[in-house]
């Protein structure tokens, strides 16, 4: 029996090609691991029948010598991706029972490359949350523990992060609107990259905030992220914001040589109240890149402080518009109506029953900032501030900076339920280091780099130039090599 905890996409690919293992064997082993991991609540829809068919097809393909890198690799798919004939609910009650008649572009590409879908993964409802606590399926649980508390795997891609960290799959799809790949990756000691806006097609991915949403891979290491990202990328005529640009071989970019690369350290990311362990991690990471031959440069991104408030105008505004489609008419949940109820009552009751509290809150905030009389004061002002945030980055890159190093999160994973009584803004602060990257449309990657005093993983974030994911992955690879993070959660589930 293969030791799943030691396997990566790269090593599985090589073993499959050599014939040391079959995709059917791997798939079977992962399906077994998932069966035994109900306590993590990571997989919320199981698709063993699809997985077995895909694995058998992959084995035939591998034998014939025509096997792309992802061929036969068992994956988990975030519930935000529409998968044909398989429940795709965005972890929302309003999409209860929804089985798409079509396949998202990302999953189509992965399946065309021979990847195997083990099931659908838990997440925050409509990707709105930082702790996976807004899911209609209940909380996903972090496989890491420091005491007897159940910890959050982060959010919104919490199920993806928990599944990869617990060796329930070799990789998972995630999506990132304000940090939803990078924050959960950091909380669970895995790697996750949000590519440049427009790199990966959004078609068939349930929309949250269309100008910020990007899908990306969540994997055990940087090499796996490079391999899986390449399979997810590419121009798609069905997404008008998808960039028509060749996809490089990202894995080939991983030389580990970063001599002379200029790494920016932004002073605005030194924030009050950040735990000493994270400050230290950031300093250590800076020293590691310097030792690897990079040039460290202090930089300034003056509008950083305004990124979160701008995000909490723009994202809810876009969400209120995107989520208008959930009206109980064409798909999903429709409320039971009372005698005499008309169409307005149908909308209002359906949306009150179908949407959870956080989604309702954001839809209403978005409705407010877009309403007559407030559009200029809130929405247009936020879009102007967004232009300034992007300009900050443009200027730094124009001055020769190749990548920017920051912490990924302001804390390690916290306990499930611990933020219940906090006001919503306390939860929003989780994204303080990641949200700027979405507003500026840049690629960003979280790499596990150490543990805190309680043994919980901590991540660093690297931010790259637009469209230069290869270069960014290479800097991340150098950081990974230097950090040598090998800790794994103790199995308790």
């Amino acid at each position: 029996m293969t030791d799943l905890s030691k396997l990566t996409i790269a090593s599985a690919r090589d073993a499959l090609r050599k014939g040391d293992v079959s995709s059917a064997e791997l798939t079977n082993a992962y399906l077994g691991a998932i069966e035994g991991a109900g306590a993590l609540n990571a997989f919320v829809h199981h698709t063993p029948d699809i997985a077995n068919v895909q694995a058998a097809a992959a084995d035939v393909r591998i034998k014939s010598g025509d096997a792309p890198d992802m061929c036969g690799i068992p994956l988990g798919i975030k519930d935000l991706f529409c998968t044909k004939g398989v429940p795709s609910q965005a972890a929302s009650g309003i999409l209860n029972g929804f089985k798409p008649e079509y396949e998202s572009t990302v999953t189509t590409q992965l399946f065309d490359a021979g990847a195997v879908m083990l099931g659908k993964l838990n997440m925050d409802e409509f990707a709105m949350g930082s702790s996976n606590e807004t899911s209609v399926y209940g909380n996903a649980v972090n496989p890491w523990k420091s005491d007897d508390r159940a910890l959050t795997p982060g959010g919104s891609s919490g199920g993806s992060a928990a599944a990869v960290a617990a060796d329930l799959c070799l990789g998972a799809t995630g999506t990132d609107t304000g940090g939803s790949i990078r924050q959960p990756a950091a909380f669970t000691g895995i790697t996750g990259i949000k590519p440049t806006y427009g790199r990966v097609s959004r078609w068939g991915v349930v929309a949250f905030a269309s100008s910020l949403d990007q899908a990306g891979p969540m994997t055990k290491d940087v090499r796996d992220s490079a391999i899986m990202l390449e399979a997810m990328c590419g121009h798609d005529p069905k997404d008008s914001t998808s960039m028509d640009m060749a996809v490089p071989n990202f894995e080939a970019a991983l030389t580990g040589d970063i001599k002379g690369k200029v790494i920016g350290i932004p002073k605005e990311y030194r924030m009050d109240g950040i735990p000493a362990a994270i400050e230290k991690l950031w300093e250590d990471g800076t020293a590691m890149l310097k030792d690897a031959g990079a040039v460290i440069r202090d930089i300034t991104l003056p509008h950083t402080k305004y990124a979160l408030p701008a995000y909490y105008v723009i994202a809810p505004a876009e969400a209120s518009s995107n989520l208008a489609r959930y009206d109980g008419v064409r798909f999903g949940h429709r409320a039971k109506l009372d005698a005499g109820d008309g169409i307005t009552e149908m909308y209002e009751k359906t949306r009150a029953e179908g949407f959870g509290a956080e989604v309702q809150r954001r839809v209403m905030v978005g409705t407010y900032v877009l309403s007559a009389g407030f559009y200029d004061a809130y929405y247009n002002r936020a879009r102007k501030v967004r232009a300034l945030i992007k300009r900050d980055f443009d200027q730094v890159f124009a001055a020769g900076v190749d990548a920017i190093l920051t912490p990924a999160t302001p804390s390690a994973a916290f306990g499930l339920g611990e933020m219940v009584d906090a006001d919503p803004i306390q939860m929003y602060l989780n994204d303080v280091f990641t949200v700027t990257v979405n507003l500026a449309g840049l690629p960003g990657i979280a790499v596990p780099a150490g543990v805190d005093a309680n043994g919980l993983p901590l991540g660093l974030q690297l931010i790259g130039r637009p469209w230069e994911e290869g270069d960014l992955l290479n800097v991340a690879y150098a950081l990974e090599q230097a950090a040598g993070f090998v800790a794994k959660p103790q199995k308790w589930w």
Binding site: G198, S240, V329, R351, F355, V363, R381
Partner: protein, 95 residues
């Protein structure tokens, strides 16, 4: 900025989400906190700055205005909560 219960009621109505009367004060309080947070944006000098419309410099792609798919009535209706004879059924809209 402080949001009163009446404004909260109006926003809920605009968003087509039913909120019971007794839940409005708490909702108004949450809105106030969030908007208070957002109001930091007023500190920023945005004179002469154009609101961002696209984060990447590309112009949206054009294509010929022709039908690219269709004839999928069954697939379109498949997930409807109430579909009858090829139509979406809803409560009476016009008296």
């Amino acid at each position: 900025m402080s949001i009163d219960t009446e404004t909260a009621r109006r926003v809920a109505k605009l968003a087509r989400i039913k909120v019971e009367d007794d839940a409005l004060p708490a909702l108004a309080q949450e809105f106030s906190a969030i908007l208070g947070f957002i109001e930091q944006l007023n500190e920023v000098d945005v004179d002469g700055i154009e609101p961002m419309t696209s984060v990447t410099p590309q112009r949206l792609k054009r294509r010929t205005d022709v039908v690219t798919d269709g004839s999928q009535q069954a697939a379109v209706m498949k997930n409807a909560p109430d579909a009858r004879e090829g139509f979406f059924a809803v409560p009476k809209v016009v008296e």
